[in-house]
């Protein structure tokens, strides 16, 4: 049995930053493995360690820079990686869900996995949609926002919990092949060990262009166009305490006493 994990490299914005056109200035960005995908990788690697899974393959749509993040997933136990990128993608300011679905579909067709794990959302542009869209496209069953997974290999069924709002979980049985979108907290993602990091260096990252996955430029024509990016107008009327730590703490203590919640 093979598991495909979608792994995105996400950008995080520094505390102070500037917007240039419809982008945050490159020098204010730091790149990291998407938090939700970290949990998805861990879940796949645990399934492999427990037995039923023979191979864990990651797939990333991203430029060469993302190989650093991909190596991180490999160091945590994924066996090999596929990275899809093309010059034609370079100019897109926003990869919409449809584009990502088309690209990932092509990789699914080639890899033929039994289970696809994605994150619930990407931390930067948070569509929260790629996994379920992909499932529909490739004809797999699916479950979104999964925070517990118990896989019954003989029955080919994943018993999952879907985390709803307000401390309620939905218990669902999902037949494989399936796509599950993984929620944080489902497991404890491991840190890459030194040995893992060393091994990752010799694992394969196959790079594929549009042509290689059998798609043409039409597959990446996005219907979504970002027309503006700005810092949200602060609706804040917060009183910010000025001064050093001692002074601000004193002001805060006064407020707490005024409100009668602390003495």
């Amino acid at each position: 049995m093979k598991v495909l994990v979608t792994v995105k490299e996400v950008a995080e914005v520094a505390d102070d930053f500037e917007i240039e056109g419809t982008e945050v200035g490159e020098r204010y960005l730091e790149y990291d493995l998407n938090e939700w995908d970290d949990y998805a990788v861990e879940e796949a690697v645990q399934l492999k360690e427990e037995g039923p899974v023979e191979e864990v393959v990651t797939v990333t749509i991203g430029p060469e820079r993302s190989e650093e993040t991909i190596r991180m997933a490999l160091a945590k136990g994924a066996d090999r990686a596929v990275r899809v990128w093309d010059d034609a993608l370079e100019d897109a300011d926003l990869l919409d869900v449809e584009t990502k679905t088309n690209l990932l579909e092509a990789v699914v067709e080639e890899e033929d996995p039994d289970l696809v794990l994605t994150g619930v959302q990407s931390g930067d542009d948070n569509f929260g949609a790629t996994g379920v869209s992909l499932a529909d496209e490739i004809g797999f069953q699916w479950g979104a926002v999964v925070n517990a997974l118990d896989y019954d290999h003989d029955a080919g069924v994943a018993h999952v919990h879907r985390e709803l709002e307000g401390g309620v979980e939905e218990l669902t049985d999902i037949e494989l092949p399936a796509v599950l979108t993984i929620q944080t907290g489902i497991n404890e993602p491991r840190y890459a060990s030194l040995r893992g990091i060393r091994q990752a260096q010799s694992k394969e990252i196959a790079t594929k262009s549009l042509d290689d996955v059998g798609l043409d430029a039409g597959a990446i024509e996005s219907d979504l166009t970002m027309t503006a990016m700005y810092e949200p107008e602060s609706e804040s009327d917060a009183e910010i305490f000025e001064g050093d730590a001692g002074e601000t703490a004193e002001r805060l203590a006064e407020v707490l006493r005024e409100k009668g919640v602390a003495e």
Partner: protein
């Protein structure tokens, strides 16, 4: 093709708040497109739901009676069939957990461009949505092309529709193909236990700014010195540093204390959903742009490792 179709949401016999917000958002778009507002309600006691959804500005409520609780196979087929029937300009769905479980599949199947988690929608010959990126640190406007579009809206961004409308309520027969493959077997309540943070007057809540589990005693000291109740954002619970019953937010507890002191918490929408009802909100954060300051009444832009020890001294 100027109508709007909005899909309501319910759980365990009750319409969820976002359903009424969808009516407001849907009406707003329908006014701009010059069309009717159609509302779909799928599964459960659809007759009772339809009566509640018949609020001002709603033109039609379509009921699909199959099933009791949410089942994405039923929802996808029902919305697909209604979309074919109504041929709306814009399809509006909730960006809820169940919305995440069917809206992307609907959009894919109908070949509609999808803009998720909208906090604003404009229609002026074309559709433009406002959405956030980078944990609410920036806002973007996105033009959504295509002949017809699908949007999911963030909860609590539009006011709930009110009043009573004169909508036509009509059952809609889909002929659901029960292909199965995903079966809901039940529900489970989580986050119970000995403490109930929703009863607390004064909450000190800690987020990822605490960095390491070893630093948690600092906050526990503050909690003890100021006689507060300890709570946290999600990552602290995900890491197993505090039990689930301490988590504030969309998937944790909703709290309404006199004072909510958020320390090292950025103020993500899913966190804010659980604490925006507090009388007074105070935030301590190193990042002056952290969204938590937008809803705070008082703030300290500073390092918690410097501020908290001083604060403890104030109460000792």
């Amino acid at each position: 093709m100027s109508d709007v179709l909005a899909v309501a949401e319910h759980r365990r016999g009750e319409l969820r708040d976002v359903s009424y917000e969808l009516l407001t958002a849907g009406r707003q778009v329908a006014d701009a497109t010059g069309g009717d507002l159609h509302v779909a309600v799928v599964s459960g006691d659809t007759e009772a739901f339809a009566d509640n959804l018949n609020r001002e500005g709603v033109d039609y409520v379509h009921t699909v009676g199959d099933g009791e609780e949410f089942d994405h196979d039923v929802y996808v087929q029902a919305v697909e069939a209604l979309h074919a029937e109504i041929d709306p300009q814009v399809l509006v769905m909730p960006n809820s957990v169940n919305g995440l479980d069917y809206a992307p599949a609907v959009a894919n199947r109908l070949d509609l461009p999808l803009a998720t988690d909208a906090v604003g929608i404009e229609y002026d010959g074309g559709l433009t949505v406002t959405r956030e990126m980078y944990g609410s640190k920036v806002e973007t406007t996105v033009e959504v092309g295509g002949d017809q579009q699908a949007v999911t809206i963030r909860g609590a961004e539009w006011p709930a529709a009110e009043g009573v409308g004169d909508a036509e309520i009509a059952p809609f027969d889909v002929g659901i193909d029960d292909e199965g493959g995903a079966t809901v077997t039940g529900f489970e309540e989580v986050g119970g236990g000995d403490v109930d943070i929703s009863e607390a007057d004064f909450i000190v809540s800690i987020g990822r700014g605490i960095e390491e589990e070893e630093n948690l005693p600092l906050i526990e000291d503050l909690v003890e010195a100021s006689d507060a109740t300890l709570a946290s954002s999600r990552p602290i619970v995900d890491n197993g540093w505090l039990p689930k019953n301490r988590q504030v937010g969309q998937s944790g507890k909703v709290v309404t204390p006199e004072v909510y002191l958020a320390i090292g918490i950025s103020g993500a929408v899913q966190h804010v959903a659980g604490m925006k009802g507090a009388d007074t909100i105070v935030a301590v954060n190193t990042d002056p742009n952290a969204p938590i300051f937008d809803i705070a009444d008082y703030g300290i832009v500073g390092d918690l490792f410097e501020v908290v020890p001083e604060l403890i001294e104030e109460f000792e």
